[in-house]
């Protein structure tokens, strides 16, 4: 007997990642992208046309379409209301990062899904980057000996749009770019961030922006490792690539330089007016989508939980608190 198709809907597509997620799901055998709902008229029209996916008039209509799972790629501040609506209506939710903009919202989302027996997974695709998977294998095998410290960057280009609206995004570069790296560090070692100090710049790289666009976090982990993370939107439009995710991990036996976007060809194009790095690396979003679909099909548990999303977001919020007080902030009493 053939397995029935896994039916997925998109609830909010304002985050750019929805494009890549949809492309991956549409290409996956046994998966159906049933429909989408997006409140923003212009975004919705463009997106639905691009993928030939049915556009529904309300979140309610989408949730009534008999879905197995929904992917929520809305503005950060709308994650909570969408998750609350979908909890109990679908088997599983994949929610874009950061999980929310406050600890209270994240907790409500986690509790709502638990009560309604809906699986909540947070979208941290970096865990599926082949270089990061291999790095975890090397670390687990003890390649570096005793781990001493990490020096990380998740640089980006200034994304504009709702990303720089504090009401919708909840924060700028620090909230946007803290969570990916903190999530993989937590995953590597099963450790929590215990303290964070931060220097944050508002409108520093983009005068007049009105939100933080530069950030340096200095943190300690519960396994004794200390490190730093640069979250700045410091890649100008003229740069070769939108940003980076780099992890330099130093141990007593040596150092690993991980650069997840290092697989690229260099393209010099007069039309673009600059030289660009075009990635040929494996699509980490594809790994994330396959993992989500597999969880639904196998009736399993999410590999990346709402709790994981909350913990990573809390580090970013602690960084803002540190920048406000000028002192290191402890995370032990979360």
């Amino acid at each position: 007997m053939a397995e029935h198709n896994i039916r997925i809907g998109f609830l909010g597509i304002a985050h750019l990642h929805s494009v890549s997620y949809a492309g991956n799901l549409l290409a996956m055998p046994g998966v159906e992208v049933v429909g989408m709902y997006e409140a923003n008229e212009q975004l919705a029209t463009e997106w639905a046309g691009r993928f030939d996916v049915q556009r529904l008039a309300s979140a309610e209509e989408l949730l009534a379409a008999g879905l197995d799972g929904v992917v929520i790629c809305s503005e950060n501040a709308l994650h909570r209301p969408y998750v609350e609506r979908a909890a109990g209506r679908v088997k599983a939710i994949l929610c874009e990062k950061p999980i929310a903009t406050t600890v209270a919202d994240a907790q409500v989302m986690i509790d709502a899904c638990r009560t309604a027996d809906t699986r909540l997974q947070i979208a941290f695709p970096v865990r599926f980057a082949p270089s990061v998977v291999e790095l975890k294998r090397q670390l687990d095998a003890g390649l570096l000996g005793e781990i001493l410290t990490v020096n990380c960057t998740n640089h980006g280009s200034m994304p504009g749009g709702w990303f720089v609206n504090p009401d919708l995004a909840g924060g700028g570069a620090v909230l946007d770019h803290t969570v990916h790296v903190i999530d993989v560090l937590r995953w590597f070692w099963g450790a929590e961030v215990t303290e964070v100090y931060a220097e944050i710049g508002e409108s520093l790289l983009h005068p007049g922006l009105g939100i933080d666009d530069a950030g340096l976090l200095s943190f300690t982990l519960s396994n004794g490792v200390y490190g730093t993370l640069d979250t700045s939107w410091s890649r100008p439009p003229s740069y070769t690539i939108w940003g980076d995710v780099k992890l330099e991990i130093l141990g007593t036996h040596g150092v690993v330089y991980a650069d997840t976007l290092q697989q690229y060809v260099t393209v010099a194009s007069n039309a673009a007016g600059k030289t660009r790095w075009a990635s040929y690396g494996s699509d980490m979003d594809g790994g994330l989508m396959a993992d989500f679909v597999k969880m639904i099909r196998m009736r399993g548990e999410p590999s990346i939980t709402g709790e994981d999303g909350l913990r990573a977001m809390a580090v970013a919020l602690a960084a803002y608190e540190s920048a406000k007080t000028g002192q290191p902030v402890k995370l032990s009493n979360l």
């Binding site: 001493l148 710049g201 530069a214 200095s218 100008p236 130093l250 007593t252």
Partner: protein, 314 residues
């Protein structure tokens, strides 16, 4: 170097002076007085704890002075050296050689030319292995924190000085690291900086990286662009070799003309300043502030607190 004569050496260990004379030419002096009587310019290359007595002696003898970095191990000593030389009127050049490395000069020139706009996020790194006594880079004082100040005072003063050159004065510093971690033959630090301009900065320095490689890196992002350089990038000369004994080997090098070699360029610049042909691109006050920020970084690592430079007196 045209117009320059290498006269000779004085060292508390005469055999060290002899070795230098045999290798590079010049005489060995038996006393500081004889040494000062014979030279116009002295280059002090002792451990930092011995800089002060030698600088004060050279200043008393009215000699122009080049002093190795860090200017001193302790702030009061560095301050006394700088103030004495200012009072006596002898030039004191801190050997902050990174300002003379061609790639760093080009970074600074690019900023000065307006290529990146106003600097906003500074990052640099200087990572090598522990200077263990008895190994190839082996002066025993490096390993003694009380003498060298560890990786922050010995190494980070380079990056602190360069960061100040690019971004201006440091407002505060926060540091995590291994200096007080009680791990033998390990030292490493991650400095987080705020500049008075509002810019932020990050400096990694390490004596815990694997032996055999020395990695440096610099990146400055501004509101109109970005400039970066990394020693891991492919060098202009890369040899790939194989033999049965060693297997595959890759040897990279980045040669410069003799006059662009950074230590030469540094000394030539100081000579030009002494002879009135140039204004100094790095001053004793720069060397002093690099030490002050370095000591603040160490204090931050010791206390777990950010240190505000305005209030910091060593």
């Amino acid at each position: 170097m045209p117009g320059i004569e290498l006269v000779g050496y004085y060292d508390l260990l005469p055999e060290a002076a002899e070795r230098a004379a045999q290798k590079y030419g010049g005489r060995v002096f038996g006393s500081l007085d004889d040494f000062f009587a014979a030279v116009d310019l002295v280059d002090i290359c002792t451990p930092g704890t011995a800089h002060k007595e030698n600088v004060l002696a050279a200043a008393a003898a009215r000699k122009a002075i080049i002093c190795e970095k860090p200017l001193a191990r302790h702030l009061p000593d560095a301050l006394e050296m700088v103030e004495t030389c200012e009072r006596v009127g002898v030039p004191l050049f801190p050997a902050q050689v990174v300002r003379f490395f061609p790639m760093y000069r080009k970074v600074k020139e690019s900023i000065d030319a307006g290529a990146i706009g106003t600097p906003a996020v500074y990052r640099s790194a200087r990572c090598g292995s522990f200077p263990r006594p008895g190994r190839d880079f082996s002066a025993p004082y490096y390993a003694d924190f009380n003498q060298s100040g560890g990786v922050v005072l010995d190494v980070a003063v380079h990056d602190i000085d360069f960061a100040r050159w690019c971004c201006g004065e440091v407002e505060r510093v926060f540091t995590r690291g291994l200096t007080f971690a009680g791990k033998p033959f390990q030292d490493h630090a991650l400095l987080t900086l705020r500049f008075t301009s509002g810019a932020i900065g990050h400096i990694e320095v390490s004596w815990s990286h694997p032996r055999g490689n020395f990695r440096t890196r610099v990146e400055v992002a501004g509101d109109a662009g970005l400039v970066e350089w990394d020693s891991l990038d492919r060098p202009p000369l890369l040899a790939e070799l194989y033999d049965e004994q060693n297997g595959f080997q890759r040897l990279g090098s980045s040669p410069t003309s003799a006059t662009d070699e950074p230590y030469y360029a540094e000394l030539a610049h100081f000579v030009d300043v002494v002879e009135g042909r140039a204004t100094p691109i790095v001053t004793a006050r720069d060397g002093l502030e690099a030490v002050r920020v370095g000591l603040a970084a160490i204090e931050s690592m010791r206390t777990g607190r950010p240190i505000t430079m305005r209030d910091f007196g060593g």
